[in-house]
């Protein structure tokens, strides 16, 4: 099982090599777990590897994980869901681009930048209810007052304020991601 090559000169066990052991202990299990959901071997391998990549980038100390498999599966599930959302978003974006009159169509570079921006926003807001997202985007993109947003959504100003707190909190939290 432990057929990994770790090339670190330090005598103390580094975080990276502890991660190496984490991989060899759990990769087979994680791969099976992901494959049950994706049913495609190549994508499952990609997702499983990407999961470890995330731990690496986030510098998670494997010894701090009480239940490594629960943690790994949480990260993997997040990645699978992200893939699904990205796909949906891209489709909807391309459909709307196609409907746009020529004179409004962005340049090829703008199209890519815009898709990246939408993907990043969508990812940030993904856990929020639709009404919360809508309220936040009215404020963030259009600069509407809470009174105006409340009128459009049929809720009170206080509720709009609560939605805003929820959304901005989420924006803060997603900034924590690696």
């Amino acid at each position: 099982m432990r057929q990994i090559l770790i090339r670190h000169e330090t005598t103390a066990v580094s975080t990276a090599s502890k991660l190496g052991f984490l991989f060899s202990d759990h990769h087979r299990w994680l791969l099976q777990y992901v494959q049950r959901q994706l049913r495609n071997r190549a994508d499952a391998e990609d997702t499983a590897a990407e999961t470890f990549c995330q731990l690496l980038t986030a510098r998670v100390d494997p010894e701090s994980l009480e239940q490594p498999r629960a943690f790994l599966s949480t990260v993997a599930r997040r990645l699978i869901y992200d893939r699904y959302r990205r796909q949906r978003l891209e489709q909807a974006y391309l459909e709307r681009l196609a409907l746009l009159p020529e004179e409004f169509a962005p340049s090829p570079e703008e199209k890519i930048l815009l898709l990246e921006a939408l993907t990043s926003i969508d990812r940030t807001l993904s856990d929020l209810p639709l009404a919360v997202k809508q309220a936040f985007l009215y404020s963030q993109l259009d600069g509407f007052s809470y009174a105006e947003i409340g009128r459009r959504l049929g809720v009170s100003e206080r509720t709009v304020g609560r939605y805003m707190t929820q959304a901005i909190r989420q924006c803060w939290l997603s900034g924590m991601q690696p």
Partner: protein, 324 residues
């Protein structure tokens, strides 16, 4: 940080200063801000250095992507508000990611689903030499897939992914054609290589000659040692001798001054798992001959000659990073 995020999503408290900054932001955007509120906000901002810093961080998280979307036609932000299936349905497979319509990008990305349906295919690290029904000799590089369509009028080979070299058996009544999305390579009694790339197809003539053509009708005859790249709308003739591209038949990857990412792409069909190249070093120039069947050795050789290091994490994750 990751752990923090997952904990925090569940509604656990944030740092009190962050909570205060968020409250202020919600308050200032309401559209009902008077002078007293503004003063109070200024006081909070100046009360401690950490306040201004946190405020700035919060603002930067509401920055660039929103600016880009704000400038675009408003129809293009609608995708942000389309209903999506909830996480639980997606994860239980109820939505069929990779099974039904949602599988589009999966197929586009890896092609491996498609490739399994092809008539002939090779897996990771596997090369194959075959003799076709007409006596032609076909070599498939690792990670390649081909459909055969031989009829009375022609011998058609569809290269779905990867690369092949074919030694065509003579049959004047039935032309031999290798077809990709970009166009055709028609043998004029010959041995040649066809290799798929992201958006184009490379054709290299190893013996005799080949006629390449696009669906648009444009065509070009290539003689021994010549090569071309077929793009969607044009044929690009290559000046240099490209015959070394067929060296994979001997298990070798020959590289004459190419960017590192092209070399890594060529090694991919020979490795399982994820091979990730740091974008900072993708354009390093590489020269040399590398063994395909021992891709670990090939990577080590790269690390010896270039300012990069190879980090291996178990069998299916390898990172290539700048050294130092």
């Amino acid at each position: 940080m990751l752990a923090e995020r997952y904990a925090a999503v569940k509604g656990e408290a944030l740092d009190p200063v962050v909570e205060q900054a968020i409250d202020w932001m919600v308050c200032l955007r309401s559209g009902r801000v008077d002078v007293r509120t503004e003063d109070a906000f200024q006081n909070w901002l100046n009360a401690a250095p950490g306040h201004a810093h946190t405020w700035q961080q919060l603002q930067s998280r509401l920055g660039e992507p929103y600016d880009i979307v704000r400038r675009a036609p408003s129809a293009l932000r609608e995708p942000l508000l389309q209903p999506t299936h909830c996480r639980r349905d997606v994860l239980r497979g109820l939505v069929g990611v990779g099974l039904l319509g949602g599988g589009l990008w999966l197929a586009a990305r890896s092609d491996s689903g498609q490739a399994l349906l092809a008539d002939l295919h090779t897996g990771t690290g596997e090369r194959r030499n075959l003799t076709l029904a007409d006596g032609s000799r076909l070599s498939l590089n690792a990670g390649s897939a081909v459909d055969l369509d031989f009829s009375a009028g022609q011998r058609l080979l569809r290269l779905r992914r990867g690369a092949l070299v074919v030694q065509v058996a003579t049959d004047p009544s039935r032309p031999f054609i290798v077809r990709t999305e970009q166009g055709d390579a028609r043998a004029l009694g010959t041995r040649f290589l066809v290799e798929r790339q992201d958006e184009s197809t490379r054709v290299v003539v190893l013996e005799h000659s080949v006629r390449v053509s696009l669906p648009t009708g444009s065509q070009l005859d290539l003689q021994e040692g010549q090569s071309a790249v077929l793009h969607a709308a044009r044929i690009e003739r290559l000046d240099s001798d490209q015959r070394f591209r067929a060296d994979w038949q001997e298990g070798q990857l020959s590289v004459l001054d190419e960017p590192l990412d092209a070399v890594i792409e060529a090694l991919r069909p020979y490795r399982r798992g994820l091979l990730r190249l740091d974008p900072q070093i993708r354009n390093l120039r590489v020269q040399g001959v590398f063994p395909l069947d021992d891709s670990d050795r090939a990577l080590n050789a790269l690390a010896e000659t270039l300012p990069l290091k190879i980090e291996r994490y178990g069998p299916w994750l390898t990172l290539i990073r700048p050294r130092g």
